[in-house]
């Protein structure tokens, strides 16, 4: 029965995540101010007054920037994780189905190859070669999500292939692809949801890192990482312009991590067992 009582982690994580997702969604229809206009007369205004979180060095409202920046971060991270799942999961399923075969070897060694490189360095390489943009940031982060999901799925699937119901499905004449889709994948959903949440938070962090060094979304599209980078020399005269994008990154990543942990507590069968 314990699994029906959500843990504190889960609640805090869900609230933070929902909060930022909400901000991002609201920004599509409404922000307190525009984020592409420049209003030099009102620059570096402290929080309070007409601007809840103050204004930046160009007089843009920081709350609006953070809201639209949430959109950028979430979109980049979400699509990158999507790429990882769409490509990684079939690869992992195929490797598990042909366990020990040539296909398995090829897929897993290719995964090892990608894993062998520090992800952020390669992401910087990719964006440096193909030019800095949000799309290239997505591709760069997405590529590194592929082996994560492929490995996870292969490990989980190998265990499931030994199960009796899989055996009976084989006896019934179902092919490997069909078994993978109908019997293996649904039983891996829990694992994928948990890992997806964790990868999502890493994606947000990676996007902020790339933007910070100028390789993510380009101006005037607001991005938390670039807001931080641009506030660097102003930190001693207007600390608020660094504080809020920084807080946004910290809270979103924290929220997603807590959410991921909380979901694992509920969904992961192994943890469920030990808890009982």
């Amino acid at each position: 029965m314990r699994r029906l009582i959500p843990s504190r982690n889960l609640v805090v994580g869900a609230v933070l995540t929902a909060g930022f997702a909400g901000l991002a969604l609201i920004s599509f229809v409404w922000t307190p101010y525009g984020v592409t206009g420049v209003d030099i007369a009102n620059r570096l205004k402290p929080p309070g007054g007409g601007y809840v979180l103050g204004t930046d060095q160009f007089g843009r409202d920081i709350l609006s920037m953070v809201m639209v920046g949430a959109r950028t971060s979430i979109a980049v991270a979400l699509i990158a994780v999507g790429i990882g799942i769409l490509l990684g999961v079939p690869l992992g399923l195929a490797a598990a189905a042909r366990r020990g075969g040539v296909l398995d070897e090829v897929i897993m060694r290719a995964n090892d190859l990608i894993f062998a490189f520090p992800s952020l360095v390669i992401a910087i390489l990719i964006t440096a070669i193909f030019g800095p943009s949000a799309v290239n940031a997505i591709i760069a982060i997405g590529i590194f999500n592929i082996p994560v999901f492929a490995r996870l799925v292969r490990g989980g699937a190998i265990a499931l292939w030994q199960r009796d119901y899989v055996l009976s499905a084989r006896v019934a004449g179902k092919g490997a692809a069909r078994i993978s889709a109908e019997h293996i994948l649904p039983n891996l959903a829990n694992l994928l949801i948990v890992q997806g949440t964790i990868q999502f938070s890493l994606g947000i962090l990676a996007e902020a890192g790339l933007s910070y060094v100028g390789l993510g979304a380009q101006p005037p599209v607001p991005s938390w990482g670039r807001m931080l980078a641009e506030s660097q020399t102003l930190i001693s005269i207007a600390p608020h312009i660094a504080l809020f994008p920084g807080l946004a990154i910290v809270l979103t990543v924290l929220g997603l991590n807590l959410l991921g942990d909380g979901l694992r507590d509920i969904l992961d069968p192994r943890i469920r067992k030990t808890r009982r």
């Binding site: 420049v38 030099i40 620059r43 660097q232 020399t233 102003l234």
Partner: protein, 514 residues
């Protein structure tokens, strides 16, 4: 190790007992490095200064590269030319103490300072001048400013200290040209290793270069002119504005020439330990426009650009108020400057009308490629917002300097870019159709040629006014502001240049007032 240990121990002991050991030790080192003849007062601490700079030179030969960072360290300090720039931009005698110009303006006879030696001890005489000028103008010369020397027909040594230069046509700018860092006098004996071991005639000699960190110069005791008032000058390279701010505040450096973060200057101003020098540079900061690329080949579109831009907002927003508005490509502190800012007043309504007349009622989309300095990156975001207000969408791309030089400057693959043209008196670039903004106007080119052969000051002023007006009314580029020279220094350090008539950190008359 063992024989050394007593010495070491005693040194540490002395160090613990008093601070004297350290100073005495440091002095010994200086003695070894600086003096050819023994210094008279060994009990005095060496007078040192540490100056922060943002950019490190790629190498140390000012006669073979356009990099201003080389002159920033070496100009006037290590290398000298026949003439030189003063702090106010005036042309002053340097190695040439006097000169006579023939009536037809074709022959210059220079009298050199006597008893001048290079830092390696060899004599500097007329032959070195002949060597330097011939090397700079030679067919295979790699001098970055070869055009400075193109009117020279011949260079003759007339004796130990007499040099005659004849020109193929009169050139009113010749003495100015010789003052550039690219025209300094070098020696055939030391030219081979100049990139790593520059040997000049200046009051400081090169001592050490720790790549990525600092360059150290020491006083040259045999200097022919007024001796330097500093014993050791260290240039530290700090590219990150935040680190520059911290180094200055911690007093790790005594001065920062060309401080990269104008937003921090009020904090220095409020601090009694520092003085802030705000002057003018030769840097015309412009919204460079690709004149050959549609729709910018239409003067109406360029005019619309000019009226869409609010200069003051850019100066305030990108430079925190430091900078002088300009309406043409000429330095406002120059006596021949004409204020043409009225040609391009901020008027978004007019800009929209002009765009409609040009056939772009709904505006258009173009590229805006930005090099690293904050005037470009910040200015770019502000300009993008201002252009968006009249319907022109810009795709901003932030580039590193190497990419910018490749794509924009050499490749001409851009619509708009922002850059500061820091060479002095560089309106001549508008007479070069192959220059990166690709402005091709025969009338301008003709007048520029007339100017170059005109020596009469009044006629020159009139021509310069015309030239400035032509490019302003042709709206060749968006003229934004003259880049301010911003330096921060210890309040007791006297004699640094306030203005920057050329890229230099002239330490020859800098001293500590204590």
């Amino acid at each position: 190790m063992i024989p050394h240990s007593p010495t070491k121990r005693s040194l540490i002991g002395a160090l613990l007992l008093s601070g004297l050991a350290l100073t005495a030790y440091a002095e010994d080192e200086v003695q070894q490095q600086t003096t050819v003849t023994p210094a008279p007062a060994p009990e005095v601490d060496p007078i040192t200064v540490t100056v922060g700079l943002q950019l490190e030179p790629p190498h140390l030969d000012p006669t073979s590269a356009a990099a201003g960072a080389i002159d920033q360290v070496l100009y006037a300090n290590v290398f000298e030319g026949l003439t030189r720039f003063g702090p106010d931009g005036s042309i002053r005698p340097a190695l040439a103490r006097s000169w006579t110009i023939s009536e037809d303006g074709l022959s210059y006879t220079f009298t050199l300072a006597a008893d001048v030696t290079f830092h390696d001890g060899t004599a500097m005489d007329a032959n070195d001048v002949v060597f330097s000028l011939n090397r700079a103008r030679a067919e295979d010369s790699v001098n970055a400013q070869k055009a400075l020397f193109e009117d020279i027909a011949s260079v003759w040594a007339m004796g130990e200290t007499q040099v005659r230069v004849t020109l193929s046509k009169p050139n009113g700018n010749f003495l100015f040209n010789l003052a550039w860092g690219d025209a300094v006098i070098v020696a055939p004996e030391s030219i081979e290793n100049i990139k790593t071991n520059p040997v000049g005639t200046g009051p400081f000699m090169f001592s050490d270069w720790v790549q990525g960190d600092q360059i150290e110069l020491v006083k040259y005791a045999e200097y022919w002119g007024a001796p330097a008032q500093l014993d050791i000058a260290t240039f530290k390279f700090i590219s990150d504005p935040t680190a520059a701010f911290a180094a200055m505040m911690a007093e790790d450096i005594d001065a920062f020439s060309g401080f990269p973060a104008p937003e921090n200057l009020p904090q220095f101003e409020a601090d009694p330990r520092f003085t802030v020098l705000v002057g003018s540079t030769e840097g015309e900061t412009i919204l460079s426009t690709n004149n050959k690329m549609p729709p910018f080949d239409n003067v109406k579109v360029r005019e619309a650009l000019a009226h869409a831009i609010d200069r003051q907002a850019i100066i305030d927003g990108a430079m925190f108020g430091y900078g002088t508005p300009i309406g043409t490509h000429f330095a406002p502190h120059n006596p021949d400057y004409v204020d043409l800012t009225a040609n391009s007043t901020y008027d978004p309504e007019l800009a929209r009308t002009l765009l409609s007349e040009a056939g772009f009622p709904d505006g258009f989309t173009t590229t805006l490629k930005l090099p690293p300095p904050s005037y470009a990156r910040r200015g770019g975001e502000i300009i993008a917002a201002q252009l968006r207000a009249v319907g022109i969408e810009t795709e901003i791309t932030n580039l590193e300097w190497a990419q910018w030089l490749e794509e924009v400057f050499r490749g001409k693959d851009y619509g708009l870019t922002i850059v500061s043209h820091t060479e002095p008196f560089d309106i001549g670039i508008y007479a070069r159709p192959d220059y990166y903004f690709q402005y091709d106007n025969p009338v301008f080119q003709e007048k520029m040629a007339t100017l170059n052969s005109e020596a009469d000051p009044e006629a020159r002023s009139a021509l310069l006014a015309e030239l400035q007006t032509i490019i302003s009314e042709d709206y060749v580029n968006g003229y934004l502001f003259q880049l301010a020279a911003l330096s921060v220094a210890n309040v007791n350090l006297i004699g640094l240049w306030e203005n920057a008539p050329t890229q230099a950190t002239d330490l020859t008359s800098v001293y500590w007032d204590e």
